[in-house]
Symmetry: C2
Subunit: 318 residues, 2 copies
């Protein structure tokens, strides 16, 4: 697994190399900044769920994981332009270093390279990756449309995170299974696993933004309310009879840091965080159930462990 | 041909439809603004070069043309964000109407839909379209890297326009030929036609920006010098012993409209425009030569006529 992740790193750098040194440098900037490579890891674990012992991943499985990771990284280039972000993964963001124009083009370039890799894996994988790009955009557009809307519904929230987060994780698992030509029911189960894991992952991430310190979350927290992104605990708190009205009056585009702190305190007076945790736990359970018919292989164990870690992470700051 | 273009319009709108009304509206905005659909036209003409009489294009040829057009339109969404443009094709630009964030995401969405269409046409077409996206980005990045550089070389210029313009036209022809399973030598000839046509097209476009009125060009002209994009006539004029030094002193990021007018007058005192026209004519000739082994079919005639029109267009303002 360690060796396969190292192969993933070198394949990522190999794939994004361009004719020109400058484009190569810009396109590899965030790859070099590192990352957990959750999506390539899921692709590799999924591809191996029927293998009773650990073996090196095939080059096509590595490439499938890289295709998904490059879509993710390309979307981060564009996210950072949209948010005017200055840092990403503890390094200067691409837009801050080279400007918005080059960051937009390099993001497009990464999407192109990802699609090239996928095309080499057959029409089903190519079509799947392309559809996933559209779902990612749909989820992000949904989120923008709900920005600063205190009436955002649970359905709108779930639809948005399904597109912006879960779709790419479902696709990572599905591509791993497809590339290794696993039986169709297994392909479907693994896709369901990735989607359910992705939903749980994003809900946990959103809870941590609300209640964790930067250290606990491992990244800056407390931004969602400032940016008008009202996540599951907040949506629930907004309908709470005791705090809903005050919370609604604070959640405006003019919100200050002090009002944000007060808003977080109000949310924590409600069952919002607990309700959200329960929903995350339900998705994690759903993810676990999709694995029950699979053998107790190293691949299946890795996926199960990832799902368990997620829920543990959410409980840490409580 | 008229009927096939109408089918192209309806296929474009059909393909970009999203689950949400809002994304559908944003993604179809520039399609509804119209366009000459040069790329779908080339795909259809290429697909038909061996047909002795006109017949309706197959749905796959229509889809191939739409895939290329959607890459083009998606890149325009991003171009307009990068240039902070307010209008495009006589309508308000997507970024001006809905903001940069939505314009970036909708551009990504269009690239995703284009890749989906291509995946439905086989791995070779899917891979080709993906590679073309990377070439487009490479050409645009090259152009940015040469901005305001009075020492920009002819090679750097040609490399940039090969990526930003010619690659998509070469791919349009190639996809038409591939989808209809034409013999490989014909596929290669048509690809060469599209690439050579694309080079000639961009050189003519660049000449018109320098010497034509808005009316003659059918769009706003005189912007390249202000934006620091030094095209073929300018590159030649910069090495002219009589005007080179003065021109160099005018071509800076601080250039005013008056200095731009003076620069254009200086370029016209040299052979720069004529040299560029000769180069465009050479590319047009090269394009025509690629068609010589083909039968005198309606498809081949349409391609030849497009190439002839181009050179006529460049001569109009002289």
């Amino acid at each position: 697994m360690e060796a396969d992740l190292a192969r993933t790193e070198s394949e990522l750098l190999h794939v994004v190399a361009a004719d020109g040194d400058f484009l190569t440098e810009v396109a590899s900037h965030l790859i070099k900044a590192g990352g957990k490579r959750v999506r390539p890891g899921f692709a590799m674990a999924s591809a191996a769920v029927l293998d009773s012992s650990e073996a090196a991943a095939s080059i096509n499985v590595i490439r499938g994981g890289c295709a998904v990771e490059l879509v993710h990284i390309g979307s981060l280039y564009h996210d950072d332009v949209m948010d005017d972000a200055t840092t990403r993964r503890s390094v200067i963001s691409v837009n801050a270093r080279w400007g918005n124009q080059r960051a937009i083009l390099a993001g497009d370039y990464l999407l192109g390279r990802a699609s090239e890799l996928a095309a080499g894996l057959g029409t089903e994988v190519a079509g799947l990756l392309a559809t996933t790009i559209t779902q990612l955009c749909d989820g992000q557009i949904q989120e923008l449309q709900s920005q600063f809307d205190p009436d955002r519904s649970v359905d709108a929230y779930e639809r948005s995170i399904l597109g912006k987060t879960a779709s790419l994780l479902g696709t990572a698992c599905r591509i791993g299974a497809l590339v290794n030509d696993l039986p169709r029911p297994v392909v479907e189960s693994l896709t369901e696993f990735g989607l359910a894991y992705g939903m749980a992952f994003q809900i946990v991430d959103d809870i941590l933004d609300l209640i964790a310190t930067d250290e606990q979350a491992g990244k800056p927290t407390g931004n969602d309310l400032l940016e008008g992104i009202y996540t599951l605990p907040v949506i629930h708190a907004l309908s709470d009879p005791d705090v809903g009205d005050e919370l609604r009056s604070l959640l405006t585009p003019e919100i200050t840091d002090i009002q944000r702190d007060r808003s977080q305190a109000l949310v924590r007076q409600t069952t919002g965080v607990q309700v959200a945790l329960d929903v995350a736990q339900n998705f994690a359970n759903k993810a676990a159930i999709t694995l029950t018919d699979l053998p107790d292989s190293p691949g299946a164990k890795a996926l199960r462990a990832a799902s368990d870690d997620l829920i543990a992470r959410a409980h840490a700051p409580l």
